[in-house]
């Protein structure tokens, strides 16, 4: 008789990170084949049309870069926001606003043929994207309005604004009543890098931007604060990091990048404003951010892969007659498998032999707790009863834990967890972050955050960190 136990990992080896990228891709191909089969399409033909045919020509490769560029720009910004637990899912709206602003400058600026045009457009786009995201940040920090919903609602507002502009005031008077602006003049158009393709010089922005964000995230104080706010909000608060400032900066930075992507798309690819300027880049970039492990450089690789699903859908439309929206199936599956695969990166599933279960697991079984109080009396109490319950329910090992975390002010948690016996003490990665940040406040911190500890495994439950204000 054995049982499985799920334990949080303290650190994940590099091979796991690689696997966390490769396994979802393979699983997506497999599941996608099943979807193809269920619609009586040969999986081989389907996968070929989706993933091989699009990139088997130079033109296809250039298109891949064209599609990956906005995904990378937006995805990098989103990765930063998500790292700090700020859920900006309205990048599509920020993209649209950036496109509107850039195009507005191109249409109405007095310096029509000067070399200043493109820089001015880009500046306007950065500002507009940041402004649109700034509204979300303001609502979040001033009114505590959920940023998921408010950022999303602003996507629709931005799209109606765009629709109004191209159908109304900005419509090309010589355009036979089509809902589009006039074509941008040469000075406002990004020059093509390769003749005969749509590969534009805006693509050159992408890699530097990703590297910059990587530097911000991992080599700056702001990036450190951002990561702490996301991983251990309580620790961040004790350390005096301003949550509101992080929200403002990550949202505006992500918005600015999305706006930049928007104007690059209009200036480099479309050449004018039309009602539909994006095949959902802003939403797809969320997948890209997660597939890239919320790491700016991972995002670059992920963007190329996800761009392939867009191209694949176009090819499949031509070769197999599939609707264009079928790309969503692969993008959804990819995100499902990436997220599901994250489980294996975050947790270790151990097979516990019976003997070990008997010695270590008895105190840790879930059945011990109900004896504390009668169920009826405690249900009616809400959140507040929980903390008072848990300390008495378990043999609290928090003091020993906190002391060990204090000593662990150096680089990593690995020596700690490996030196201690396999079961007695496993600290989560976030807890070591708290140890690093604020040595003096750690005792109060860890005693409150390790609410449920059992004799078997000392597991700091970081979920108790509820504050986000």
């Amino acid at each position: 008789m054995t049982r499985l136990r799920v334990e949080p990992r303290t650190s994940a080896p590099l091979s796991l990170h690689v696997a966390a990228f490769a396994v979802p891709v393979a699983a997506t191909a497999l599941l996608g084949s099943l979807v193809f089969l269920s619609f009586s399409i040969s999986p081989l033909a389907g996968l070929h049309a989706f993933f091989v045919a699009p990139v088997s020509s130079a033109h296809g490769l250039s298109e891949l870069l064209v599609k990956a560029a906005p995904l990378t720009l937006i995805g990098c910004g989103l990765a930063l926001a998500f790292r700090s637990n700020t859920w900006n899912i309205g990048a599509e709206g920020q993209f649209t606003l950036g496109a509107i602003a850039g195009c507005g400058v191109a249409l109405f600026a007095p310096w029509q043929d000067s070399a200043l045009m493109l820089p001015a457009m880009i500046l306007a786009a950065l500002a507009a994207g940041a402004f649109w995201a700034g509204i979300v940040a303001w609502l979040r920090t001033r009114f505590a309005a959920n940023e998921i919903l408010s950022s999303l609602m602003l996507v629709y507002v931005a799209q109606f604004l765009l629709l109004w502009l191209v159908q109304g005031p900005w419509r090309d008077p010589d355009g036979f009543n089509f809902p589009e602006t006039r074509l941008l003049q040469d000075a406002a158009t990004l020059s093509p890098l390769l003749p005969g393709t749509r590969l534009h010089s805006g693509v050159l922005f992408v890699l530097p931007a990703a590297v910059c964000l990587w530097l911000i995230l991992y080599r700056s104080l702001f990036g450190f604060q951002l990561r702490v706010v996301g991983a251990a909000p309580r620790a961040a608060r004790f350390a005096g990091f301003s949550r509101a400032r992080i929200i403002w900066l990550t949202l505006c930075l992500g918005g600015a990048l999305a706006g930049l992507a928007g104007t690059l798309e209009v200036s480099g690819v479309i050449g004018q404003l039309v009602p539909r300027i994006s095949p959902g880049y802003g939403f797809t970039a969320i997948i890209v951010a997660f597939l890239g492990g919320l790491h700016p450089l991972g995002v670059v690789a992920a963007a190329l892969l996800v761009a392939l699903t867009y191209l694949g859908a176009e090819t499949a439309q031509i070769l197999l007659g599939l609707p264009h929206a079928a790309a969503g199936i692969f993008q959804g599956l990819l995100l499902f498998t990436v997220l599901g695969g994250g489980f294996l990166r975050r947790y270790r599933v151990r097979v516990i032999p019976r003997a070990e279960t008997a010695t270590a697991g008895t105190a840790g079984t879930t059945k011990t707790a109900p004896s504390l109080s009668s169920p009826s009396s405690t249900i009616t109490g809400t959140t507040k009863t929980a903390p008072s319950l848990s300390p008495s329910s378990s043999t609290t090992t928090a003091p020993s834990l906190s002391s060990s975390t204090i000593t662990e002010t150096t680089k990593t948690a690995a020596p700690l967890s490996s030196s201690s016996s396999s079961l007695s003490s496993t600290t989560t990665a976030t807890e070591t972050v708290t140890g690093k940040v604020t040595t003096k406040t750690t005792p109060s911190l860890s005693s409150s955050s390790s609410s449920s500890t059992t004799a078997g495994t000392t597991k700091t439950v970081t979920k108790t960190e509820t504050d986000d204000g």
Binding site: F39, I89, F336, I379, T382, S451, K463
Partner: protein, 308 residues
């Protein structure tokens, strides 16, 4: 201005509100159990296309509504396996569900674009023609279903013991777990219910509201339903108020054109979304005033991993 008599207006508003009400009622239960499922839009689309396909192929509306319910539940089950079983990030998983559902429904419904079906029949009243205003109650089966469901959900959540447990699971999963309640099981059940309701909401759109199928038919209603749950501060009866308000605003967009209001229709179309943002800001209250924020379920969107 011609036929702005009250009965058709109310009928139009209730028709526009109904999908929001169905989906939001389901999501309210889900969020009360502590799960944030952002996949409403995807579940609605899959429900819409499944209901429509069954209706075209078999022509039995009970069957198609059942198919919509079941397909919504399947989608919610997929979400549950990931978010509850594998403890994935609920925000990202919900988004993936929406993107996946959008693609899947487009693929499944590709052969059905442009087909039409007989709209769901309205349940008539004896004497409705004699008293014109009784026409307000000439609604589809789904309307009455939604109203009854809203009542049942209210009674369930606040007047029964299982409802109490569900709320306890949503308020503090650690406490509920300590008391011996299966947090994951309760949440999974709530999710399935929410999925079924979303599927029905989608089917209502494809079978009655606009009796046809096209890609992305739900047009963001799933997201509005999500916002409505926040708007209602997780209280069922306020949901009714919110859905009627939003239904009225979206109808205003149609009437606004007829009334010759001197505003571009685009700005009227923005109204529901702006109203949601405004409602979010008003309901959430200021950051410092923490009292009102406590109305959100305490464990909302936090993945649960049992200790030990």
């Amino acid at each position: 201005m011609a036929d702005l008599s009250l009965v058709p207006f109310i009928l139009t508003v209730s028709a526009a509100s109904l999908p929001l009400l169905l989906a939001a009622t389901g999501e309210l239960v889900v969020e009360r159990s502590g799960v944030l499922n952002l996949g409403l839009e995807g579940m609605m689309l899959v429900g819409a296309v499944c209901g429509f396909i069954v209706q075209v192929e078999f022509g039995v509306s009970v069957l198609s509504l059942g198919a919509a319910w079941a397909s919504g539940m399947l989608m919610a089950g997929l979400f549950g396996i990931l978010a509850l079983g594998l403890r994935t990030n609920q925000v990202a998983t919900g988004l993936a569900l929406t993107i996946f559902g959008t693609g899947l429904s487009a693929l499944a419904g590709a052969d059905y674009v442009g087909r039409t079906v007989e709209p769901l029949s309205r349940l008539g009243f004896p004497g409705a023609d004699r008293f014109g205003w009784l026409g307000v109650f000439e609604q589809t089966f789904l309307f009455w279903f939604a109203v009854v469901m809203l009542l049942l959900v209210h009674v369930f959540l606040f007047r029964t013991r299982p409802g109490l447990v569900l709320r306890a699971v949503g308020e503090s999963h650690d406490a509920a777990h300590a008391l011996g309640y299966g947090v994951v099981r309760w949440r999974f059940g709530a999710l399935l219910f929410g999925g079924g309701m979303s599927g029905l909401a989608g089917a209502y759109i494809s079978l009655s509201y606009t009796p046809l199928w096209s890609e992305g038919l739900t047009a963001g209603r799933g997201w509005i339903a999500l916002a409505l749950v926040v708007f209602a501060a997780w209280v069922p009866w306020r949901l009714l108020l919110g859905t009627l308000l939003f239904g009225a605003i979206s109808v205003l967009e149609l009437y606004g054109q007829g009334l010759g209001i001197g505003v571009a229709p685009h700005f009227l179309a923005m109204l529901p979304y702006l109203a949601t943002v405004a409602a979010l800001a008003l309901i959430s209250g200021s950051v410092s005033g923490r009292r009102r924020r406590l109305e959100a379920p305490g464990s909302l969107a936090r993945p649960f991993s049992p200790p030990g």
